[in-house]
Symmetry: C2
Subunit: 196 residues, 2 copies
């Protein structure tokens, strides 16, 4: 039952966008009463949070392969590009996980919020390894991680919120990837490190 609710919620989100999905519509789709949903989920936010977690699981499973790359610079590039690809492939999940305001405030305090910390730690250790190799110098790891994550996130967010409408729409995904790679090529050169 729980999973049936989540399934139809997810498909409705994908169809009708986000704020246009009501408890009643989910209830209609699974042919139950709206009140039934509250037997399995405390809140509407609880539904969002469940999908939120599901999204993090698929993001992790996508990035698992990339985490095996030994060269930290290549790994970092792969992680950033994998992050952007995830955002473009699963816009509903991405919205939920990183752009929506609703489900988080409570989560930040109550639940331990494992996923975010785990992903962030992975990013930070990768950056640490890059710094050990002489890359990304002169910055704290905290600022570097925020900057790199923010770069990938921002490009994705502009596309998903349709703020880049001054660029041709059908080329947007390609431009987004090119833009990210351009940042990477300046920050994480694959060629031998230029003389510092």
């Amino acid at each position: 039952m729980r999973s049936r609710i989540l399934e139809s919620a997810k498909s409705l989100f994908a169809e009708d966008g986000f704020q246009n999905v009501s408890i009643r519509k989910i209830a209609d789709k699974i042919e139950y009463s709206p009140a039934t949903i509250y037997l399995y989920f405390k809140d509407k936010d609880a539904i969002l949070f469940a999908l939120h977690n599901e999204g993090f699981r698929t993001l992790f499973s996508r990035q698992g392969e990339n985490m095996r790359i030994v060269d930290p610079a290549k790994r970092l590039r792969a992680l950033l590009e994998g992050y952007l690809d995830f955002a473009l492939d699963e816009p509903e999940y991405y919205d939920l996980m990183f752009m929506l305001f609703t489900p988080l405030p409570k989560i930040l305090k109550t639940s331990e919020w494992r996923y975010g910390r785990r992903a962030f730690r992975a990013l930070q250790t990768t950056i640490q390894e890059c710094q050990n190799k002489g890359l990304l110098k002169n910055t704290s790891i905290e600022a570097a991680s925020l900057g790199l994550w923010g770069a990938a996130h921002g490009i994705a967010a502009l596309l998903l919120r349709q703020r880049a409408s001054m660029l041709p729409e059908d080329e947007l995904p390609a431009l987004a990837r090119e833009g990210l790679r351009m940042l990477e090529s300046h920050l994480l050169p694959l060629a031998p490190i230029p003389s510092a």
Copy 2:
């Protein structure tokens, strides 16, 4: 009257966050009936759009000084940092202008959407000048502008949506600025251009 509505709407947004402001609350605050608001604004979105425009005006007035910087690399850095500062200083406006889904879909098609294009063009010509000086090579201007804008936007967006809670909260603005400057220092070196 129009301006009284906008004023109380804006102050309520700043107090109670965004989705917690209803037409009725605005009406209560100005001591009029909810129906009165519809004499001056077609929609709730129309109110958001008006504030949206106001936000762009203040962003432009802030960036006006930066546009006078002659060195394109310095100008670009100032523009990006000014953009981030605006987001941190006026989170409600920024949310409305770049992160909210609501008011835009109609605007993109009906209204000519001058502000966005104007700001984007300014960014692009600055990047063009940078490329003429040998910076930001090997990228289309479209991708470069999307990447740089996205970087600044993403850092701001992560802070405003409280996604960077694994970093100490009181240092977040400083870390955001440091992260952005770190990106800039790799992309737009102020020192003479390293040998290509």
